[in-house]
């Protein structure tokens, strides 16, 4: 291993390779996808909303009680109108999802148990928010009447998953849809640089026999390290751009950098291995995309409720584990517990990749 030769190879490739349109596209495409996702998706969860038009002759606690009962399930907007006709018009004009006409002395009558009439107006095609508000009126009125709940309802979600399993809903709720897709783009970016751009560079060197000329003085280990550094640098620059443009700042930066680095090292090993298997850069450019599918797809599946067999299968892949690490790093939360197993799986792939690469190089040198 010779440091100055490694640096010479690194410098040459860093500037020469991106003059190749195939390499440039492999770097730019995931960057563009990430930025597109960032604009397409929003991190704020979308909750249903409802507008309530009401007419009340007196002050009433009904509105506040309904607001408290609904809580954050539906985002409510209350519009006070002069009379019942105005309530009806608002519902007809679809300016309100529900209308309430509160008669005079309503609160006192409720508390006295006089069962006063509360007029509720719903449109022909009711909205989810309007229906939800209508359904909460009964408990709200009981509360005004001073009646406690007749029973305490304890809801449990029953599923085959264990208590520690992470569901897609919990992942998306915790990191948001935009962050999730940008994270998937990060995995895609690493995969495309390591397993498409870098192999194209190496395959071209083999095809044009420039590698033979370099090999006259440098060892293949120098070449592998030099090109790995090129891959790491391309990934670092592209990631910086992606995170900068999308303003996705990982809450746990050291974990993010560590996870992406180990993942990149593993994929670069496989990328250089692949680069040596193809006869030409064009052949690799044509077929290399197929090899990317099992690498990129898990990043998108981790956040979905996939069948257990799929989940188990992708657990073994470095990209699914890297996605877990990055999700935790971006959210700053332990969305996925036991990250040691994620690093262990990725490290296993690193060992496999570089053992195969060394074996391949020893055969080439023979």
């Amino acid at each position: 291993m010779h440091l100055s030769r490694i640096l010479a190879i690194f410098r040459k490739d860093l500037f020469d390779a991106i003059r190749d349109a195939r390499v440039l596209m492999a770097i730019i495409a995931p960057l563009g996808v990430g930025i597109l996702y960032s604009f397409m998706f929003n991190n704020t969860p979308t909750t249903p909303a409802a507008t309530v038009a009401y007419a009340a002759t007196d002050q009433t606690v009904l509105i506040g009680t309904v607001r408290d009962t609904v809580g954050k399930t539906v985002t409510l907007t209350f519009n006070s109108v002069p009379d019942a006709a105005a309530v009806r018009q608002a519902v007809l004009d679809k300016k309100a999802d529900i209308g309430l006409v509160v008669p005079a002395g309503f609160d006192a009558a409720v508390r006295a148990g006089q069962t006063p009439a509360l007029t509720v107006m719903l449109p022909e095609s009711a909205s989810y928010g309007g229906d939800y508000v209508a359904a909460t009126l009964e408990p709200a009125l009981r509360q005004i009447a001073g009646q406690g709940p007749v029973a305490t309802i304890q809801t449990q979600t029953v599923s085959a998953a264990s208590a520690t399993d992470v569901t897609s809903i919990s992942i998306l709720n915790r990191i948001g849809l935009r962050s999730y897709f940008v994270i998937a783009a990060v995995v895609m970016l690493v995969a495309m640089v390591a397993m498409l751009a870098l192999p194209i560079i190496l395959a071209e060197e083999t095809e044009k026999k420039t590698l033979d000329a370099v090999g006259l003085i440098a060892s293949y280990t120098d070449v592998v390290i030099g090109k790995s550094l090129v891959g790491i640098t391309y990934i670092a620059i592209s990631l910086g751009l992606l995170l900068g443009v999308t303003r996705l700042l990982p809450a746990n930066l050291p974990l993010f950098v560590g996870g992406v680095f180990v993942f990149s090292v593993a994929l670069i090993g496989f990328g250089l291995l692949i680069g040596g298997l193809f006869r030409s850069a064009n052949q690799l450019n044509t077929w290399g995309g197929l090899l990317l599918i099992p690498v990129i797809a898990p990043a998108f599946i981790v956040g979905l409720d996939a069948p257990r067999i799929v989940t188990a299968a992708i657990w073994l892949l470095p990209s699914s584990q890297a996605t877990r690490v990055i999700i935790n790093a971006v959210s700053g939360q332990a969305v996925f517990p036991s990250l040691w197993s994620a690093f262990l799986v990725i490290a296993g792939w690193v060992v496999v990749a570089y053992l195969l690469l060394l074996w391949r190089l020893s055969r080439r040198e023979a």
Binding site: S4, A8, A213, L216
Partner: protein, 301 residues
């Protein structure tokens, strides 16, 4: 004019001629087998420092495989080879800085300029950048240096390859079919470069299909056939041993007569024409290396 009639040549045993100076390349029973295929089958020779050594043979004779082994790109499966005293199988790290190669194919970085190509290899070999301009001047590419190599002609590329191969001032320069595909002018320029290198003291190990090129440049040549050396000597001796021994006589009637130098009767005929004053010119048709090759391998190159 005196004619010496010699007996016709017989298949002479292969006796490697000892090079004039101390050997810089020593090859002993070197072999490279790929399964049952014997690409190189136990060859022995040595090359003296400063010598231009030709390695001739058909495609697949084992020339390039031998170069690959001597330059560390293939491991021998038998025998040994030493370059500048270092074993190529175990001490290649010591050999690499002392050698270089002009390959068969123009393996240059086409998107880089001529100068950047040389700068990259100057960095790899750890030589000062001033060497780059010096070499560009040597191969007459100073003006074209800022242009991308993909715009170069074949001859320019070949000259750049030579410049690249000289970047580390190699003690042994391997040239693998350096003039293949070049036009006559470019080929001549390249041969001149090789001759200049040899005059500068660089040992040149040349493989070529072109017999006249080997004849012009090489101090000694080895003929390789099916992985084995079938003849090794200075070109003149090989031509004498294996070449045609005829002369063409132009008579006063403008009639051309070919005579066999080994035939006593033809000698008498020539003597008669000369006595009668009928001979205008006599051209000896000395053998060529091509003839030598056909005699040895049974087919032309």
């Amino acid at each position: 004019m005196s004619l010496v009639l010699e007996p016709p040549p017989v298949a002479a045993p292969i006796v490697p001629v000892t090079p004039a100076g101390p050997p810089i390349v020593e090859v002993t029973d070197l072999a490279k087998h790929y399964g049952d295929l014997r690409a190189v089958d136990g060859i022995t020779f040595s090359v003296a420092e400063g010598e231009v050594f030709g390695f001739l043979g058909h495609n697949g004779a084992g020339k390039t495989t031998t170069i690959r082994m001597l330059t560390g790109r293939a491991h021998p499966t038998g025998g040994s080879a030493r370059v500048a005293g270092f074993d190529v199988a175990t001490q290649m790290d010591r050999v690499k800085p002392l050698i270089n190669l002009v390959p068969e194919d123009p393996n240059l970085y086409e998107r880089l300029t001529g100068r950047d190509n040389l700068r990259f290899f100057a960095e790899l070999y750890g030589v000062p950048m001033s060497r780059v301009d010096e070499l560009l001047e040597t191969v007459s590419l100073t003006e074209a240096a800022p242009r991308k190599v993909k715009t170069y002609s074949s001859g320019m590329k070949q000259r750049l390859l030579v410049a690249r191969a000289l970047i580390n001032r190699p003690r042994v320069l391997f040239l693998d079919e350096p003039t293949r595909g070049l036009d006559p002018t470019s080929a001549r320029e390249l041969r001149q470069l090789v001759a200049d290198m040899a005059r500068g003291g660089t040992t040149v190990f040349l493989t070529t299909h072109y017999m006249e090129e080997a004849d012009e440049l090489c101090d000694r040549v080895a003929f390789l056939s099916r992985g084995r050396i079938v003849a090794l000597d200075v070109p003149r001796e090989l031509k004498l041993r294996y070449g045609k021994r005829t002369a063409t006589v132009l008579l006063d009637t403008r009639e051309e007569q070919t005579i066999q130098l080994d035939e006593a009767a033809d000698g008498e005929r020539l003597a008669g024409w000369m006595r009668d004053g009928r001979v205008l010119t006599v051209h000896s048709n000395e053998g060529t290396l091509e003839d030598v090759f056909i005699a040895l391998a049974g087919r032309p190159l």
